[in-house]
Amino acid sequence: MKIAVCIKRVPDSETRVRIASDGRSLDEAGVKFILNPYDEFAVEEALRRKERAGGGEVVVVSLGPAAAQETIRTALAMGADRGVLLQADRIPADGLQVAKALAAELEDGGYDLILFGKMAIDDYNHQVGPMVAELLGLPCVTAIAHLEVENGKGVAEREIEGGVEVVEFPLPAVLTADKGLNEPRYPALKGIMAAKKKPLETKPAAPGAGGLEVVALTPPSERKAGKIVGEGAAAVPELIRLLREEAKVL
């Protein structure tokens, strides 16, 4: 089974966000970058599918700066076979441009499955995976939390409001992973050492700006300083009064 996993290098969610002097981007000084957590589920799923099939290849693809090589190495340390970095200094805000660059790389790869995380935790954009599927004309199921594959057919489950959709699809297909799909492994020392020797190809990429322009990046509006209503159960009547009369939400 040949599987591609598209991953993204993102700032750790613990990062203190400082806005760069251009007023439109993140000041990356001192920021720790990680493999997007949802992409870990995708990498793990690819490894399990390959193991279960008793053979195949897991190829990790990322669009990003040179430093994204480290992110790819993390996935290789988990067990992926090789990596491809589509090197671009800037990732456009328009996800379709990212999707086009990835689709061009994946198009002739002969993949049975192309996996993504359901979203990246930096921009919350939820879109590159299904866009790649459309560009390649492949069936796609997003935000899956359960997957079964047999005889060229798949059944996936995805959470919807108040329930779970059970979705059937043929392979090859594009899937995006939600939490709950699996429990990603930690790279073992042996894997980390092996990853250093695995092939990692770098290709220049020049995604266009597309149809979106970042106007500004600003701190969120500070929430008005709240108040401690009181201590213990004795404070409950006052809380209810405030919720009714001041906040008017009860």
């Binding site: 939820h126 866009m131 059970v166 500004a216 990046l217 213990g232 409950v236």
Partner: protein, 324 residues
Amino acid sequence: MSNVLAVLEQREGALRKVSLEVVTGARRLADALGGTVEGLVLAADAVRGADHLGSVGADTVITLTNAAFGRYAPEGYSQAIADRVKAAGYGAVVFAASATGRDLAPRVAARLGVALAQDITDLAVEGGAVTVTRPVYAGKALQKLKFTGKPALVSLRPNVFTPVQRPKAGAAERAAVSVAAGRVVVKQIKAAPAGTLDVAEAPIVVSGGRGLKEPANFRLLEQLAEVLGGRAAVGASRAVVDAGWRPHADQVGQTGKTVSPTLYFAVGISGAIQHLAGMRTSKVIVAINRDKDAPIFKVADYGIVGDLFEVVPKLTEEIRKLHG
């Protein structure tokens, strides 16, 4: 003049509430662009509630029917919408950032070859261009984006665009549409127990964390949700979901759901940044925690420092009295 298409959602033939919010967002854009709002719902048959959308801002609501459209049909839906957008031309297309909308909008955007901004919390028209705002970096920054092409595709974070009533009727139309057979088919919907509200869409969320001490104690939060009269859902922090106390569907936070209810109760939740990422756009936040230094109190509008096992039952009792 530029019209706006509002992509609405139905389940089992009834319009979903989030559709009212989509019409509301679309109305704001249409007013600024000097156009009309056209609602579009895809279904197997007539949709209950579709003819009432005039009152929140739809000029027309069109139901496109197809035997395959009872449940979400990703390929058929995206084809029907993309075809309509190509034929009619719109200044903007508005979706809900729901499970369906988040899946559907990127497919339509790719078919049209245009940009999409998902999960937005604000929108406007400036100098003729659609601009949107969305939280990024775990809610620690807001990104403002401008669309440089047309149509602008956006999906709206649920519970943010509050419907405004206006005394105007809209027209309703219905037409059959044919699409290619889909390869991706929703075979079944395993529904949550009847009456269960999803945390992402509930107007009130009562969330619990490790402070609850054990899974059975979530009963206290369920009781509080019950007395809030069917408007409340019970949420959970990552810690208790990872511990297996609560299902992932209930998780609020970075690796769970992003919620914007009118009222959010954080009970026994310390307020890690990943949790705040999922609930900081709530309108009113109430925190109940023993630790007066817990970070949750920094974002809470109202806090009670104390033992939740005393505070929550008292709260439930007082609210029950209130509703008689």
